[in-house]
Symmetry: C2
Subunit: 211 residues, 2 copies
């Protein structure tokens, strides 16, 4: 179907639908309605109906969606069927954890290699950790478009500039700092430090209330 403009809030809900659809056992009806999906997930029916209509045109009145086709439509929409090759910069603790995490396969992400100013080891789970001096030739040889930044915050902007010079178009940033990029580059921030601060402040407030 034709690709429509989609908001981030819809994008946030799609992986939830997908996860639920995949857990329905084989023996069930091959069809599922937006209403049934909304009830199962405790969500509003109108919202689910609208969200599904954004990503699939397979919905039929009174029958609903063919479940397997809907799974395919959502996965295609989210790009999970296209494997995206990425490089990761900064093979510290977080970088090594992400490099060794095999669960990204399900989302179509393939981290080819990590790069570090001072590689402490040669590989993590069979993936190479290379000196940063090899980044440009590696990205160009492998036509890499996504870069993952796991360096300390103070180095993140220069690493980001370097990635863009190497042809990267999308940056997944785990450093707790705002990155300046040209308009055609997308930065997605994953700020775990901020999340922890928000949680920690909530707990402090709760403990204070009890006193």
């Amino acid at each position: 179907m034709e690709r429509k403009e989609i908001s981030k809030s819809v994008l946030k809900r799609l992986p939830g639908y997908l996860a639920y659809l995949k857990t329905i056992p084989e023996g069930q009806s091959p069809y599922i309605s937006a209403t049934a999906l909304a009830n199962a997930l405790g969500m509003g029916e109108v919202q689910v109906r609208k969200d599904l209509a954004m990503v699939s045109d397979g919905g039929r009145p009174k029958i609903g969606y063919n479940r397997m086709s809907l799974i395919d439509d959502i996965e295609q929409f989210l790009g999970y069927d296209n494997t995206t090759d990425a490089v990761l910069i900064g093979a510290g603790k977080l970088g090594q954890a992400l490099l060794g995490y095999s669960g990204f396969d399900a989302y179509g992400l393939n981290i080819l290699a990590a790069f570090d100013a001072n590689p402490a080891s040669e590989t993590v789970d069979g993936k190479p950790i290379l000196p940063i001096s090899e980044l440009e030739s590696f990205c160009k040889a492998n036509k890499v478009l996504m870069g993952i930044i796991t360096v300390p915050a103070v180095h993140a902007q220069s690493v980001c500039d370097n990635l863009i010079a190497c042809g990267i178009k999308a940056v997944w940033n785990f450093a707790p700092v705002h990155l300046e990029v040209p308009a055609n580059i997308l930065v997605q921030n994953e700020n775990m430090a901020t999340s922890l601060a928000v949680l920690s402040m909530h707990l402090q407030a709760q403990i204070k209330d009890k006193k």
Copy 2:
């Protein structure tokens, strides 16, 4: 200083200030002004000045902040000096990666143990993986207030309900699904699947534009 109400956007910037302040070498002046910090990070001076005033009352006209005191004030504000004990539910790939990641120490997070319906091993990096049946007694014995959810989306709500019944007040949710919780419980979502979908969609659009 008295704790003021603070917005999430301020919270997001604080870890960046902290990271930069910690990289300034010992030999430099013990003072730093909001202007100098704003210039170093490429941010607006007014914003930095306001943010710092929220977390520290140590700023002096024409001199600025004592750098070490400012670091302490930000860390105290973010709760990094209070260690928060947490349990993690779901010792799959992501759960094990988080359990073995030692970098959370710097943010005051201490994951005591993981719980799983079918523990595949007994420990990860010395941290125990326990059967889910032991969750309640463990949380109560250790007065645990934070739970980290890394189970598949379809099980996340029941795990969340279980955690709340065990006395958890703050939930860090890595499952790609919305969780319903009572008003006094805070859920912080870390939706890596959504981030990857956003990045992937950007790349697809870029590739399409080139054709």
